[in-house]
Symmetry: C2
Subunit: 365 residues, 2 copies
């Protein structure tokens, strides 16, 4: 049956936490995929690239190691697009970076017939113009863009909202906890029973356990959550201009915004524990707990990200560990939403979402 397999050229950009796991999962899939021969024809990290001018196949199993040893300087984005559009097969780029530059080039990839799969939020949550350019460059018979892991990692969030919209349901509201970091922080700072720790101590603990970005302020500023809300709001039909076009409550005290590094920031954070303690007290007095959520009311077009109070029995209040939870309120689902909960970050589940996107594309090729 080998001779009847269609062939697809895969280009992987990014070989970090997600990218390296993606390559491992791709090696598994290439062995198990029955209809399509998945040929790795390009792999790159920020410093190196590995590819053959004649598009001959790279061995997926050893690609990461060979990239480190024999990678050449990566070509410019224009050159990568030229190279890939000359491939003898249909081509899919897995952008496993969080690069704005690569995201901004998606329309150029697509216009040359190259499909995109990616967990990179930048393209879908930046300027609305880029969003439009990207989706204007796709067609129902390809090239395709899939970005399941841009919200909630491998959980079926993007596919679910697309299915709701494409079958004619009316999404009225989306809300949830979209940050694993802020989930773990609030679940331990303001648990539904017991006292919880102080804010700054929990922040340090979360960093030490590897839950935060290298600089925790990249979680605390709320921009990551705002990006996810932007994506979901747009998929629900809103023309949200950018992730800063609606209220986003930053948890970084103004006085600490200019601090040059993360450790200095964490050292001074206890000075502001009383502010968060006051929030917690107000919640407790109302018999509630405080959580950091993103929401978009699709009917009114209002998006917002920040602190809100919840009954202790609310699914958002009862979240555990670093889980995300995302609820879709729709006309067909009625009063009770469709809710999806689970790990919204991590290399394995993020890469799996990208691999699932790959399967969706090859089924349509």
């Amino acid at each position: 049956m080998t001779s009847t397999k269609k062939e697809v050229c895969i280009a992987v950009i990014g070989a970090g936490g997600v990218g390296s796991v993606f390559v491992e999962q791709l090696a598994w899939l290439a062995k198990n995929e029955k209809t399509t021969r998945l040929k790795l024809c390009y792999i790159a990290d920020i410093d190196r690239a590995l590819y053959h001018d004649d598009y001959s196949e790279l061995d997926i199993g050893s690609a990461l190691e060979t990239l480190q040893k024999q990678g050449r300087d990566p070509p410019s984005l224009d050159k990568i697009i030229d190279y890939l559009s000359g491939a003898p097969h249909k081509t899919i780029v897995a952008d496993n970076t969080s690069s704005q530059a690569i995201a901004s080039a998606y329309p150029s990839f697509l216009r040359r017939g190259i499909s995109i799969i990616t967990p990179n939020k930048k393209a879908f949550s930046g300027d609305y113009k880029l969003w439009r350019e990207i989706f204007d460059a796709t067609t129902p018979i390809g090239p395709f863009v899939y970005h399941e892991s841009s919200v909630g990692a491998g959980m079926p969030i993007i596919s679910t909202i697309n299915d709701l919209v494409n079958t004619g349901d009316e999404v009225t509201r989306i809300e949830g906890v979209f940050s694993g970091t802020l989930s773990v922080l609030f679940n331990s700072f303001a648990p539904t029973s017991g006292n919880g720790g102080t804010w700054s101590a929990e922040a340090v603990k979360a960093k030490d356990l590897g839950y935060t970005e290298p600089d925790p302020r990249d979680d605390l500023n709320g921009l990551d959550v705002a990006r996810k809300i932007t994506i979901l709001g747009r998929l629900a039909g809103l023309s949200i201009e950018s992730p800063t076009a609606f209220p986003v409550q930053s948890l970084i005290p103004q006085e600490l915004e200019g601090i040059p590094n993360a450790s200095e920031f964490l050292k001074r954070l206890p000075e502001f524990d009383s502010v968060m303690e006051e929030h917690k007290k107000v919640a407790e007095e109302a018999g509630k707990v405080i959580r950091y959520i993103g929401s978009v009311d699709v009917t009114t077009g209002q998006a917002k990200v920040g602190l809100e109070l919840f009954e202790p029995t609310h699914p958002i209040a009862m979240l555990q560990g670093s889980d995300n939870i995302i609820s879709f309120y729709t006309k067909r689902y009625g009063k009770m939403p469709l809710t999806i909960r689970g790990a919204g970050a991590g290399g394995q589940v993020t890469a799996m979402g990208v691999l699932g996107d790959l399967l969706k594309i090859i089924s349509q090729m």
Copy 2:
């Protein structure tokens, strides 16, 4: 652009609670679908069928009404298959019945190139031999079988387990509340706080509110849940022989199994309230609540359906209304499962799952 649209012939079998809503949703989709012209070429309920020998298109908007007024005697399944396989376009059958006879004919439809979309559990949860015949008759380029609404209605349950398996994750355990009827019954009989009603009174109330099958014993015997567990267990890789091949705890007292009708059954149910009260008491003494769940331990191959005790803070215990909840424990998700919660029954959400399946097929045609 009309001339470049591909054309697909849709046959709808069943015009009841799900089927009639499906036809409404199909009318919406036919107006909005950009790449494919969806032509209704056959529609039937149990007594009537509407179709033209020359395959000319039926008006979707008036099809249900015309079926009632002008429908002829429905042809035999063999004749339907003959008719559809002669259509000038690729054909998709939406089986919106719960008929075993139609389910058993899926392999015959598929072998003649006709794709299937359906919420009908029978084909996927009956004899394992039928399951094998069905999937042996599909290929990655069609004909296709999609059955999202066979578990959890329109919620992304089937697509999620397929994505997990197809991307190489290892599903280790699936558990959940799979019956809207039993969900509402246990949530009111044994709430996480307060006392709850008596078992028989809650059963009568659930029937009066329209939550149960016409004969509530069809919910209480557990077979519907066992069918869903069979489907998920098989998709996770187990060769479960049938929905009666593993322990299923029936909530129908043995003495009432032979009662001829539902109202007589409900009249005598209070005689057995003490049995359920005892279950509730045991749970309470352990600080827990009682729920009716289905589970399959994929590692050991053990499936089971019946009563289990849960901490009051467990998501299964905290379920509300008639919601379903389904959790997938997998290697990549680790300790905390991927959980999906929402309405698992109802015409709108069930039909929407079938319509989503239709979209999946036409994207691959």
